[in-house]
């Protein structure tokens, strides 16, 4: 077993770290403002550097560096600013969905521009009635000749004001789903209320409702077959969303740990650094070992995908990694905030900023309970 990163992967890690620290970190206070433009320059730079193309085919402008690369890049960005880690996952989700499951025309039309960061999209599935329970959605698509007429209301759509395309899952019949690419500007497609969960209250990460009022979407925009729209979505979430979400959580955990370790060494109480108090030493040691365990678990899950295993074959590893990473992130953030004392929740330390995303990451792309359900199905059926 070779546990080393390849030179390429190590150089990628160094480059993304530099990018995050030099170009993202200084602007965080600005990104944290409640109002303002979506940070499109980040999207563009991701494209320029080739980071969206890590999981896209060379044929359409990607570089296919792979899933371990995906995880490395996502972790490094999330480590500096978790909401951008979420965007990283989001850019890759849409790119992967279309480049894997789209028609040739769709691939040619969208993928090169997605890879370059010229356009971005989002998987548009969640509704008030269902998220984890994917068949509980109620948005309907009715075939009328060469178009589908779509009516419904989607919620919690990431980047809802900044997306160019929406990969929308609809019901076309009893237990029959169909996924269609809606484009911004299509008549009847409007943006509704902005969400107010904790991680989306800044201009860095706007989320909200997307409303379909008799939107006519051409049949050419259908991904996969009619009635079988969930398959590509589930597979994409399995391939990119799970390990992507895990990577975001891992980056958050890592950032919290670094703050804790630095503070423990510098802060003096009772005549010595905090780092000499045994209880706190144990906290740091636990944080460190949990993060390293979570990282190994995640890299292994990503590595299996790079070896050609399918997301279904690696469900246990992928779900296990997401579960471990998200639990570790929450734990590390809480412990660090406690360690920091009264100032723990100030923006200066950055932990609370990261923690907001950690709370959301727990539920996105499959909550912890869904992860355990998937693993237990693999183990004992049912």
């Amino acid at each position: 077993m070779d546990f080393q990163l390849t030179r390429e992967q190590q150089m990628l890690k160094d480059m993304v770290r530099d990018f995050a620290e030099k170009e993202i970190a200084p602007k965080i206070p600005s990104y944290e403002e409640p109002e303002g433009d979506f940070p499109f320059e980040f999207q563009r730079r991701m494209g320029e550097l080739g980071l969206i193309g890590l999981i896209a085919p060379k044929q359409y402008g990607g570089n296919e560096l792979g899933h371990v690369a995906q995880v490395i890049a996502t972790e490094e960005i999330a480590r500096v600013y978790a909401p951008f880690g979420s965007h990283t996952r989001g850019f890759m989700l849409t790119t992967y969905l279309i480049s894997r499951y789209g028609t040739e025309e769709q691939k040619k039309k969208y993928v090169p521009r997605l890879v370059k960061g010229e356009i971005a999209g989002c998987m548009t599935l969640t509704e008030p009635t269902g998220g984890s329970d994917m068949l509980a959605i109620q948005t309907k698509a009715v075939r009328e000749g060469s178009v589908y007429v779509v009516n419904g209301r989607k919620t919690m759509i990431s980047r809802y004001t900044a997306n160019d395309i929406f990969a929308t899952t609809t019901m076309t019949g009893e237990r029959a789903t169909t996924t269609l690419i809606a484009e911004k500007g299509m008549p009847g497609l409007t943006l509704g209320r902005r969400d107010n969960f904790i991680g989306c209250m800044t201009r860095a990460y706007p989320c909200g409702e997307v409303i379909f009022d008799n939107v006519r979407i051409p049949v050419e925009n259908r991904i996969g077959e009619e009635g079988k729209g969930l398959g590509p979505i589930v597979s994409t979430v399995a391939a990119i969303g799970r390990i992507g979400g895990a990577a975001i959580a891992l980056g958050i955990a890592q950032s919290a740990f670094e703050v804790a370790a630095k503070y423990a060494k510098e802060r003096h109480l009772y005549g010595k650094p905090l780092a000499e108090l045994q209880a706190l030493r144990f906290w740091l040691a636990e944080m460190d070992l949990k993060i390293r365990a979570a990282r190994l678990s995640l890299y292994y899950a990503a590595w299996l995908l790079d070896q050609g295993k399918s997301p279904r074959e690696t469900a246990k590893e992928g779900c296990g990694a997401k579960y471990l990473c998200s639990k570790t992130a929450i734990d590390a953030c809480l412990k660090t905030i406690e360690l920091l004392g009264g100032y723990g929740t100030t923006p200066e330390f950055g932990v609370i900023t990261q923690f907001k995303t950690a709370l959301d990451t727990v539920n996105a792309a499959g909550s912890d309970q869904v992860m355990l359900q998937t693993i237990s199905s693999e183990l004992v059926g049912g």
Partner: protein
């Protein structure tokens, strides 16, 4: 335009406090300390790449170091340089700045006619800033240090801004010249994923002392006019001397201490 950029690998400055001395051998222990490219060298590479974009030509990156120094050359290739050369030989080890300049000069001479050599103004570990000017002397070309701006008037004539502590000197020079650049000269590019993947496919030439006709008197320990007679660690522990007395007394004591420390 034929450009050479000299780069080096140094211990990561973030980890300097972890560097220790081997008590038995009196040498510096750098094992386990992560290494980085000398920060100013990235600016040097960037300047070379920009000039190639402007004038077309070739950029070669050269580094003298142990086998691990390949890593900085890989980064240079990922940024876009055309060729990378590693000068690696046990005979080079233990060199001071002059004995480092000699092999670099030998390697550059082997590269043919060079128009421009660019270096970072100094490295974070040694921080002498000496290799550049010494290299220029061995190549018999003029050198300019603290370069913060380069303006070409035509293809061979430049006007260079060299930083002073408060202000600058304006210097005119013709190619060939060696420039030592400071941070403010440019913002360096990050390698893209494609750049990284292509760098892995390129070959890094490795040259030993025999490849550059270096004589043993000019390289390594033997070629170094300076020697280290002693090394010791210096840990900073705060004194925590809390004064007592009236404000006047404490002020007097403090002023006296500051005077002793030479800060007045």
């Amino acid at each position: 335009m034929n450009i050479v950029v000299c780069i080096k690998q140094t211990p990561d400055p973030e980890h300097f406090s972890k560097i220790t001395i081997d008590p038995t051998r009196g040498t510096i222990q750098r094992e386990g300390i992560p290494s980085v490219i000398n920060p100013l060298d990235r600016h040097a590479l960037e300047e070379g790449l920009r000039l190639r974009e402007k004038f077309s030509g070739k950029v070669t990156a050269i580094s003298m170091g142990p086998p691990q120094a390949r890593e900085v050359l890989e980064l240079a290739l990922a940024m876009g340089v055309d060729e990378a050369i590693l000068l690696c030989d046990k005979a080079f080890a233990g060199a001071d700045t002059l004995a480092t300049a000699y092999p670099l000069a030998g390697a550059i001479k082997k590269c043919g006619t060079i128009d421009l050599v660019i270096c970072g103004n100094m490295s974070v570990d040694g921080a002498t800033g000496q290799v550049g000017p010494q290299l220029a002397e061995l190549l018999d070309i003029p050198h300019i240090t603290f370069v913060s701006n380069v303006e070409f008037r035509g293809r061979r004539s430049l006007v260079v801004k060299r930083e002073l502590e408060y202000g600058y000197l304006k210097t005119e020079v013709e190619l060939p010249v060696l420039l030592c650049v400071v941070k403010s000269i440019n913002e360096y590019r990050l390698p893209t994923v494609i750049g990284i993947m292509e760098a892995m496919r390129k070959e890094i030439k490795t040259w030993a002392a025999c490849d550059i006709e270096a004589t043993s008197e000019t390289i390594g320990l033997a070629g170094s006019p300076t020697v280290v007679t002693n090394i010791y660690e210096r840990k900073v522990e705060r004194k925590r001397e809390i004064l007592k007395g009236t404000p006047e007394e404490m002020a007097r004591q403090t002023a006296a201490k500051l005077h002793e420390l030479g800060v007045l």
